[in-house]
């Protein structure tokens, strides 16, 4: 087990300098989600217009992995269609489950730095928190959405 596999430079950069952190001034979809096992929390706001994620903000408190993952998620989905955002979420979850490799054709950008999390089972929930919030935000009435 190599710590550097987990704590990549780019992760620490997002942790230290989170992108899209804050509150949207306009009415937006909002989801508050906690990781009940550790107390990490996130508030995610999405401004969706015509099926496009026009803007996104998050606030939260948590470990480097959960906050960096949230920061990267906002960058990854901003400007994308909801469908495209969901596809990225699916690919990201697959990466966390260790079902894909960095060499695969789909380019997840900075998100690939979180590939190492799959080797740290106790930390997968940390990385997934923001994505669970994203899915909950765009599928608010889905009974099987993670909570």
């Amino acid at each position: 087990m190599q710590l550097d596999d987990l704590y990549r430079q780019v992760i620490m950069d997002h942790y230290q300098h989170p992108r899209n952190q804050g509150v949207l001034a306009v009415d937006a979809l909002q989801v508050d989600l906690r990781n009940p096992s550790c107390g990490d929390e996130i508030t995610l706001q999405l401004l969706v217009e015509d099926g496009i994620v026009k803007d996104v903000r998050f606030r939260g408190a948590g470990c480097s992995i959960s906050m960096a993952s949230a920061s990267m998620m906002t960058e990854a989905v901003k400007g994308k269609s909801v469908a495209a955002a969901m596809q990225i979420a699916g690919e990201f979850h697959a990466m966390l489950r260790g079902e894909s490799t960095e060499d695969e054709e789909n380019d997840l950008g900075d998100l690939e730095s979180l590939h190492g999390v799959s080797k740290f089972p106790a930390r997968i929930k940390c990385a997934a928190l923001a994505w669970d919030a994203l899915e909950k935000a765009v599928r608010p009435r889905s009974a099987d959405s993670p909570n």
Binding site: L3, Q9, M12, C126
Partner: protein, 410 residues
């Protein structure tokens, strides 16, 4: 007490984690199990396994005898007046819920008050919240001092003629504060209230005398005291248990069953509906034997010394915050801390890479985290098999964590 010799009783400790010898500092979550307990469990399943309190065959008698002998051992261990006051449960949580369902819910009404502290584990908090919601009773909290202790004058003011129940952990699982149970019992009894003690973090680590404490109920878990998981204890005063309703109905707990009604056995059997946790209880009996062979006074002294040593070493680490009683002030065998603004999860992952197991999170005490003004904390906790060398490894690993994150961030 020779810790090096004792450690040989715990095979699990003799392994490496991520290339380093395991340093297990999470006994407040669950303790490790000595071979003496593992062997008793295996022997029970290999040689004596049968259902208890029914059937007249030899194995059934042996299993029943072993199960009831475990009850006698536990009763002696906590100085209960009789074994009938020891109910086997799944653990502290179930024990506390049994009091909430069987004692509190049928009795409490609007205007009644339940007195707690804000540092209670969720298992000694939510059952009372639910009692309050269902019965209309009100929850009151004895305020915490900065080190997690309570002042008896505050308790005295809050425990009034409206108080029906006071529930407090003897040792806080986060702050490590040791609360004055005898004095709280006196304050509760003065107004006719009952005192419920959450002994999850105290019974494994110090001599327990329920008659001396004069508590009305005591709940604790076997797995935190070298026993198996899935077994715990509810102790109660005889008159209270006699008046208390069963929570689980079914086989084993009945006396006479007719089509439209039934009657129960006496305590403790009326509380043990269904096939009880036979192997678990027998394993807990073996754990009690093991702890008594070392001596609870000795274990208490050892844990306290290690905790004090840990506090003194942690204070050497820059930017590290230690919660709970200050250096030299009596505390339970655990130390909760935060390393600067490095999240406890991140600390724990780096420690794990060095073979050190600690707990990181809210420790099932979210209101307390809020009170501390943090989302989560790290906690190192000790038991009879830990050494100062373990603490030294912890300190070294914390220094590595600090360097790692300073390096990773800059």
């Amino acid at each position: 007490m020779n810790v090096e010799t004792l450690r040989k009783d715990f095979p699990i400790l003799q392994q490496t984690i991520n290339g380093h010898p395991l340093v297990y500092l999470d006994s407040a979550a669950t303790s490790q199990k000595p071979i003496q307990v593992l062997e008793v469990l295996e022997r029970y399943y290999r040689e004596d396994n049968a259902n208890v309190h029914r059937g007249v065959h030899t194995l059934g008698s042996r299993a029943t005898e072993a199960y009831e002998l475990a009850r006698e051992k536990v009763a002696r261990f906590i100085h209960a007046p009789s074994p009938e006051q020891v109910i086997f449960t799944r653990g502290t949580t179930e024990s506390l819920n049994m009091i909430a369902y069987g004692y509190a819910r049928p009795r409490f009404k609007p205007g009644d008050e339940i007195v707690l502290t804000p540092s209670e584990h969720h298992s000694n908090l939510i059952p009372w919240q639910q009692v309050a919601k269902v019965t209309g009773a009100t929850l009151k909290y004895i305020p915490l001092q900065p080190d997690g202790s309570i002042r008896l004058e505050d308790a005295e003011q809050l425990i009034t003629s409206a108080t029906k129940l006071v529930a407090v952990a003897q040792v806080s699982n986060v702050m490590a504060t040791i609360h004055p149970i005898k004095e709280l019992a006196r304050l509760a009894h003065r107004v006719g209230a009952v005192l419920v003690v959450d002994g999850a973090q105290s019974v494994p680590h110090m001599p327990t005398d329920v008659q001396d404490l004069d508590c009305d109920f005591l709940a604790f878990s076997g797995h935190k005291m070298c026993g198996p998981t899935g077994i715990g204890v509810l102790y109660g005063k005889a008159s209270l248990l006699a008046a208390m309703e069963p929570v689980y109905f079914g086989g084993e707990m009945i006396e006479v069953v007719e089509l439209y009604d039934a009657t129960w056995k006496e305590s403790p059997w009326k509380f043990e509906g269904g096939t009880p946790i036979i192997a678990g209880a027998i394993g807990l009996g073996a754990a009690v034997d093991y702890l008594e062979s070392i001596g609870l006074e000795e274990i208490r002294k050892h844990d306290e010394q290690l905790a004090q040593y840990t506090v003194s070493r942690l204070l050497e680490v820059e930017e590290l915050t230690v919660y709970g009683p200050g250096l030299g002030v009596e505390r339970g065998g655990l130390v909760t801390f935060n390393l600067g603004d490095i999240h406890p999860h991140d600390v724990s992952t780096v420690l794990d890479a060095e073979g050190v197991a600690i707990r990181a999170g809210h420790h099932c005490a979210q209101p307390l985290m809020k009170w501390l003004g943090v989302g989560s904390t790290a906690r190192a906790s000790f038991y009879l098999y830990n050494t100062e060398a373990d603490v030294d490894v912890l300190i070294h690993a914390l220094q590595s964590a600090k360097e790692f994150f300073q390096h990773a961030i800059r």
